[in-house]
């Protein structure tokens, strides 16, 4: 059951009816039942993994809270046990591929085994770690109701693609009595519709073109287009999914954390990662960057580098060390392969180079008397960021580093195809996608100008509002990529 399916919408409507009919005190139980049904319809018996991980987290956080001496040990044990599921189920073959060549030298070999991953394991594992750390840091009290904790970790709208949420931020909305609000109900459906437009009209349509180019290793202009299209595809796919699930969650009166903030308006890579997959970035910052920055090892390193004459270099080294882990984890989280590790390191390297050469760049800007406040300079920085992201996406989409190398060279080839319509899309598709991208751009631009489109829409007359709703609904129904003749595409980030 995909989020972009009729079955999912039916489930949501049925659950919503039960939710608001149920006495307020017990409404979260409807969510729990919905979670179990949704999880089991996708992963069946594999729900046992999340159940065991929740039991571990539940028991150890209560123990941690009451313990006086062994808090840190209990926390480490909790993290280790919860992480063990993820490491074994998702990363076993990756680690074995690194280990086997070494132990082969003494004639040993551990056989590879492919496990079926329970749905959402990459997301709920991070949430469990965040929860136990927060209990350790006394940011949240350990939950004494096991079922409530299980409801949070397996909350069906955020199960497959996040956003990665914090228990402390969600528990009030999730377990307090939410009343039905017609305005919120309407707004939620507008957001869901907007998400469906992104996913079904833009992402899935561009995916047809992109798949053909990457499957056939086409180079030249079609490849350049495919890389741009893939960047748009993955954004519309992921942010579209987040819009859908956020809207669904709003139907139950629960707001999910913001995961995208118009990333293609970023003027630097650093800014991009504060606008793209925000909850992952925040998680990495809070649970990887800070602990490493504040670790004894890093403190010692800081003390040593302070002696370096060049202050800028000293500062560079102090952030380079913890950031290395952040980007390694970021890459690895996306997938168990060298390709994803390289993907993480690609951004790490660019950011570090940016930090390292900042004084030189500032000097050049100053000497050349470049006005950095004008819109054209900002546009240049936006385009530069988009270019860097596109190259990152080429790596992300490639099947392997070998394919990436091949295709990267292919970007500079001037091979012209006979027809651009040879790759699954006709001119009408291109025109359609362009039209809807313009709409998305308009909405995003409004957001950038601090205009809340949904609120503005609510202020309009009924007829105009209904025309907009009808436009959204029939855009999806007519132009959406679904039904016979199309392979139902799952959300890209669901695979992580």
């Amino acid at each position: 059951m995909s989020y972009a399916s009729l079955n999912f919408l039916i489930l949501v409507i049925v659950l919503m009816c039960f939710y608001y009919v149920c006495p307020k005190k017990y409404r979260w139980i409807i969510l729990l039942l919905g979670n179990i049904y949704f999880f089991m319809s996708l992963s069946g018996k594999l729900i046992i993994y999340s159940l065991i991980a929740t039991i571990i987290t539940y028991a150890l956080t209560i123990l941690l809270e009451s313990s006086k001496k062994n808090k840190k040990k209990i926390l480490i044990l909790n993290i280790f046990l919860v992480l063990a599921f993820l490491l074994v189920l998702k990363y076993d073959n990756f680690f074995l591929s690194l280990l086997n060549p070494i132990i082969n030298l003494v004639g040993l070999k551990i056989p590879y085994k492919k496990f079926i991953l329970p749905i959402g394991i990459s997301y709920y594992t991070l949430e469990m770690i965040a929860y136990s750390v927060d209990v350790y840091r006394k940011k949240v009290k350990a939950e004494t109701n096991f079922l409530k904790l299980f409801t949070f970790f397996t909350y069906f709208p955020k199960l497959i693609e996040g956003p990665i949420s914090k228990y402390s931020e969600m528990k009030e909305k999730m377990f307090s009595s939410n009343c039905f609000d017609y305005e919120k109900f309407k707004n939620a459906w507008v957001l869901i519709g907007y998400g469906f437009i992104k996913k079904m009209i833009i992402a899935d349509r561009l995916g047809i073109f992109v798949d053909k180019i990457f499957e056939q290793n086409i180079i030249g202009l079609p490849l350049i287009l495919a890389v741009i299209f893939y960047t748009i595809q993955i954004y519309c796919d992921f942010s579209g999914c987040i819009d859908i699930v956020s809207g669904v969650s709003e139907l139950f009166g629960i707001n999910l954390p913001v995961n995208f903030k118009r990333p293609f308006f970023s003027t630097s890579i650093q800014e991009f990662w504060t606008r793209w997959h925000i909850t992952l970035g925040a998680w990495l910052k809070e649970y990887i960057f800070y602990p490493i920055s504040l670790s004894k090892l890093n403190m010692k390193l800081n003390m040593k580098v302070r002696k370096i004459k060049f202050k800028h270099l000293a500062r560079f080294i102090t952030i380079a060390f913890p950031l290395l882990f952040v980007w390694l984890v970021n890459g690895l989280w996306h997938g168990a392969s060298i390709k994803y590790v390289t993907y993480g390191l690609y951004y790490y390297l660019l950011m570090m180079l940016g930090v390292l050469f900042k004084p030189i760049l500032d000097f050049i800007v100053k000497k050349l008397k470049i006005n950095t406040e004008v819109w054209s300079y900002k546009l240049f920085k936006i385009l530069r960021t988009i270019l860097i992201v596109c190259i990152g996406m080429l790596l992300f989409r490639s099947d392997s580093l070998t394919q990436f190398t091949l295709l990267f060279k292919g970007l500079f080839s001037f091979t012209m195809p006979k027809k651009i319509t040879e790759f699954g899309l006709v001119y009408k598709d291109f025109r359609l996608v362009f039209f809807y991208i313009l709409i998305i751009f308009g909405v995003e631009l409004a957001g950038e100008l601090k205009v809340n489109v949904r609120e503005k829409l609510n202020e309009q007359n009924l007829i105009f509002r209904w025309l907009v709703y009808i436009f959204i609904i029939f855009s999806i129904l007519i132009f959406g990529v679904y039904g016979y003749g199309f392979d139902a595409k799952s959300f890209i980030y669901g695979g992580f």
């Binding site: 039916i10 017609y182 709703y469 039904g483 016979y484 003749g485």
Partner: protein, 354 residues
């Protein structure tokens, strides 16, 4: 409370508008085929004006001409057939027909009864798209043959979602199909003026194919269809029309047994000499009949109905005047088709071997 009711009413009105547009878009997006005119025109016929209903597929739609039955006996009949039609579709088509008509006799085409595989989803859609009645649509939705997935179920109610990707082909003129009234002067009979002889004649009826067995599902629907007719006091005639690809003595024998068991009539034209000329009367080497073959079948059937059933002549009755008018149009088309087919026979040198 007042605001709540107002909001609910607004919401329901909006849902109604969306459903209405979705339904109407079906008229624009559903593929246009022969059946579009044939079945839609059937729904536009005056109520209770059809006495003989013919259901089947590409064989019978080329074999039985309702207008010839009108001319010879004043019988009002309609060929409610769609290419590839299967017995499970007949079951629903008859129910669809019964919503507006009260036929006294149903003639069924058994050519596909012994097929070893069911039709593809794409072909199966043909059987659903023209059903208008919601009650029948709901029944089809709940039938696993038609409503396999939730998408199938939804697309039975709203065919537009099945064909939405045709937006690239839609022209402004397609909008004219919304609420259009159809007229089918030929009453579902398909004129074919092609000629391709079958030199082996009826050899196919001399040797049985191996492992001839009606699929359990098909058998179940055959019994259900017969039951449906009986409950509505309708006589059933299973009319086996020539098709050398799929018919044989074993099919004929098994169907005869079922007919005897259920008390319905079975007329197997494959085993009867009624003057069919295998060199001139088929359009594709024996799989389907052309207009000449169709007229011969209809002529034989006309006598058969006259001798075995009590079907009234509606000639001269009030409200049936349009049949005479339509016959004139039909006759012109028939003449043209006959001219073409005869010239082709001459060209192919098949007239001398008659």
């Amino acid at each position: 409370m007042k605001t709540g009711i107002k909001n609910l009413l607004k919401f329901l009105t909006f849902v109604f508008i969306v459903c209405f547009i979705t339904l109407k878009l079906g008229d624009v997006f559903v593929l246009k085929r022969d059946a579009t005119v044939v079945i839609n025109a059937f729904h536009d016929l005056p109520k209770n004006s059809i006495d003989v209903l013919i259901v089947g597929n590409s064989s019978i739609m080329r074999a039985v001409s309702p207008m010839e039955l009108w001319k010879s006996d004043g019988i009002t009949s309609y060929n409610y057939s769609i290419a590839g039609g299967r017995i499970h579709a007949f079951y629903y088509w008859i129910q669809d027909a019964l919503k507006t008509q009260k036929p006294k006799l149903v003639i069924m085409d058994p050519v596909t009864f012994f097929y070893e595989q069911d039709v593809t989803e794409e072909a199966r859609r043909f059987f659903v798209d023209y059903i208008e009645d919601f009650d029948i649509k709901f029944k089809m939705m709940n039938d696993p043959i038609y409503g396999e997935t939730s998408f199938d179920k939804a697309s039975i109610l709203f065919p537009f979602i099945r064909y939405h990707d045709r937006w690239k082909e839609i022209e402004f003129e397609d909008l004219e199909n919304i609420g259009k009234t159809y007229d089918c002067f030929y009453r579902g009979f398909l004129f074919s003026s092609k000629v391709q002889p079958n030199y082996k004649g009826n050899e196919y009826m001399k040797k049985s194919r191996d492992n001839v067995k009606m699929m359990d599902t098909y058998k179940e629907y055959l019994y259900k269809t017969i039951d449906l007719c009986k409950k509505n006091d309708i006589k059933v005639l299973i009319l086996g029309v020539q098709d050398i690809r799929v018919w044989g003595p074993e099919e004929s024998r098994q169907l005869n047994e079922i007919a005897r068991e259920t008390g319905v009539d079975f007329l197997d034209l494959n085993s009867i000499d009624y003057g069919l000329n295998w060199l001139q009367d088929t359009k594709d080497g024996g799989a389907h009949l052309n207009v000449l073959g169709g007229l011969k079948v209809t002529s034989y059937l006309s006598n058969y109905i006259r001798n075995n059933y009590d079907i009234p002549s509606r000639k001269g009755e009030k409200g049936y005047e349009f049949w005479d008018k339509d016959y004139l149009t039909y006759e012109k088309e028939k003449e043209t088709a006959l001219k073409v087919v005869n010239s082709r026979i001459k060209k192919l040198g098949l007239d001398s071997e008659d």
